[in-house]
Symmetry: C2
Subunit: 459 residues, 2 copies
């Protein structure tokens, strides 16, 4: 691993980049500022931004970057909440948004081949036009690229039934430091020859190579869906109901929860349809055929008979109205403070209630409120803390709470991150054993001996 | 990597093993003979068999084996069809069948923790008693261990809807050469901290470590299922029907196909219920709730209106009668010859028909018949060749055909193996690029610098 990365570009460096990326390179500080940060709002130092349009350019760039000891930070749409795209070690940002094509979508193979910069929502849409579904559905699908989803193994709303990004990546083409382009997997849904390196790229946070092409598995698009928002007197009652749904053999495609603080915020910031007795919400979606969805919906409703209130919707338009309450949570939470530290811990599913209650207590002991919602079916808790960064005491207490929440998640046998990744913000050594961590770093060195890829990020 | 492995055990070696595994070690050639082979019928050389009962013994053994330069071949139930368990380099077989406990199955977490030696069928059964499903369902579930399934990323009958073994492994505990016990993942359904090493173990064919514990994701058990066996005049007509099913948005949990040769064999070896006009079969299964399965079944039947003949069954007893025809294929195929070379190539789903036709031509050009059946929904073709090993010309032509089939599978963008693994029999260099292969071996060295784990196998 390098001790010293090149910390400024010579004019020879700049000439090389200008020649390799005609019209696709920037050194202007105004432009670089955009690429110095991501949705985490942490800021790093960018020496240049390059925007390849084909894999040949990526190969040549990676050959050069390794020789020149230059750190390379691969970037999609920069929506990382954990600082995964921030050049904390000064380097060149390689924006993959110039490689954003859908290369093909096959109704025969149920496979899509895409460049990494393609918008997740666009891919979903194109697949659906052809009667197919690309199931990974991060809440941020409209804002993210598939390459970014792969780098973080993005989860999302349908994960409880359909799994996460990892489960749909069957082929990866990537360029390694030194400039070699490697291909793993392909268009077959199954392949057990050799180690499954393609999937190792999923969730690797830009540390193994620059992905230049992805082959994704698709499934038939379900004909119909229905959603139900159900209200309970407490999160305890809500999660008890959820347990009954799974015990009855129902596998919804989405199960979201919102704690009491979320309902307070929603009530405070807008008109809400539920009565005052409702303090916690669950949101379910089921899918299937036009014939079966009404039955699935009825079976689900039967298990939710304890609910104090419910709002049902069948089909996109009606469901969108219901989901709007869930979508409003993040923005509405800013009434608690203009700044935010977000958590996305995962715990074993049966521990969600205890974990949220524990998190709330920790927050309260620091004079903070906990906004807790997320993917209950996966045990994935968005535990957000709002504060005012201009108030040093608030900032300190919030930071302290955040670290205590992470520690508590681990006590439940959980993970510091269910979908955002470690990025720059998570101290993975709290979760990973020393030997396990060393092994991961050993593997990283096989791909990237000098450590030029997204250094300081991941693990 | 070692050039020379210890090729015989000294009395000090034997004493060490007897002390570490009281009552759990064998040197008797009669016993060792059993462990020298697997379902591939290839034979290797076993220096000793050990049977640990806990992970402490595995740690101590692996510390010692690395120091003593002894090759270690991990073994479950020895059902590998590709020689994955055969000690082609003489070494010690570590049988994991002494660690076969189900440690816990949680209805709250939808997680099972098991030791690797547990029988797949037993785990499935115990989960189902609790209303949960462990979806991976290799056709050989009754004969296999979960650890063996993980080593090969076993697929099976339900993969088209539920995925393969990889998709259900969320935690792996394994002992590496040198004796360190490492833990990756755990009981959370989602975890994106660090590289996904747990899943790298899936399909690693015993080359990365000795797995001592597995944490598996479960799903709610569907209430009901239905199967339909449908007959067509040709495989062409059958697969055209399958295409319509997927295009209609139906995701069956199983889609099996059988080519014309299979039907000839079934007709020759037993009474069959279909008319003579039927030359190819598809077998579908759908699952869901008691209410929805009849609708799914009707929707499926509607897409299969082209079929010449059909046999439907709802519920286990009726379905078992239907599936019996599929299960009979392997055994019945021996009418074509007492010896077998099995193939389990995967191709992109849309290429199954062309691939099977190509395989048949290759077989015919060598004077052979091709038995082709398998998991059509995954593009996974069991392409079996039967012959008489006592006839050298037949054996030679069969071997030649087998290699030509492998080459043809790759021309379709396929894989040499969809579920059996490379083991000892597959020449992975035909499929893997040189750089990709070198990278995999580099990763292997991170886990196992001396190369004592299942040397000569995998990749």
């Amino acid at each position: 691993m390098l001790d010293n990365y090149t910390s400024s570009l010579t004019s020879a460096h700049k000439k090389f980049l200008e020649k390799l990326f005609p019209g696709g390179v920037a050194f202007d500080p105004e432009v670089l500022r955009v690429y110095a940060s991501d949705a985490s709002l942490k800021v790093g130092t960018v020496l240049a931004v390059v925007r390849p349009e084909n894999s040949d350019q990526v190969c040549e760039f990676m050959r050069w970057a390794e020789t020149e000891n230059i750190a390379v930070h691969t970037r999609g749409r920069g929506t990382s909440l954990s600082g995964g795209c921030v050049p904390t070690i000064p380097g060149i940002v390689i924006s993959m948004l110039g490689m954003d094509k859908i290369l093909n979508i096959s109704r025969d193979d149920f496979v899509a081949e895409v460049e990494p910069g393609v918008s997740t929502a666009q891919l979903q849409e194109e697949c659906e036009k052809l009667g197919m579904l690309y199931p990974p559905d991060p809440a941020s699908a409209k804002a993210t690229s598939v390459g970014g989803n792969v780098a973080t193994c993005a989860g999302g709303l349908r994960a409880v039934k359909y799994g996460v990004t990892r489960d749909y990546v069957i082929g990866v083409e990537a360029v390694l430091p030194g400039g070699k382009l490697l291909r793993f997997g392909g268009r077959t849904h199954k392949d057990v020859i050799g180690l499954d390196i393609g999937r190792l790229f999923v969730g690797s946070e830009g540390t193994l190579g620059v992905i230049t092409k992805l082959t994704l598995k698709l499934i038939p698009k379900p004909e119909a869906s229905a959603s139900v928002l159900v209200g309970y007197a407490s999160l305890d009652a809500a999660l008890a109901s959820m347990g009954k749904v799974f015990a009855a053999g129902i596998l919804p495609c989405a199960v979201e929860f919102m704690n009491e603080t979320v309902l307070e915020i929603l009530t405070k910031t807008s008109e809400v349809p539920w009565p005052d007795t409702v303090k916690s919400l669950l949101l379910f979606q089921v899918d299937g055929s036009n014939d079966t969805v009404p039955f699935e919906n009825a079976r689900l409703s039967h298990q939710l008979h304890d609910a104090l209130w419910r709002m049902e919707g069948v089909g996109k338009d009606e469901e969108d109205k219901i989901w709007a309450y869930r979508r409003r949570v993040s923005a509405a939470s800013y009434v608690l403070g203009p700044d935010r530290i977000g958590g996305d811990m995962a715990v074993p599913r049966g521990s969600i209630l205890s974990a949220v209650r524990r998190f709330e207590k920790i927050a309260a002991s620091n004079g903070k409120r906990l906004v807790a919602f997320g993917h209950a079916g996966d045990g994935n808790i968005h535990a957000n803390l709002h504060y005012d960064a201009s108030d040093p005491d608030d900032a300190r207490r919030t930071e302290k709470t955040h670290h205590e929440l992470d520690a508590a998640a681990l006590e439940f046998g959980g993970s510091l991150s269910g979908e955002h990744g470690a990025g720059y913000l998570k101290d993975v050594s709290k979760q990973l054993g020393k030997d396990e961590h060393a092994l991961m770093r050993g593997i990283r060195r096989v791909f990237d001996p000098k450590g030029i890829l997204n250094p300081g990020k991941g693990y």
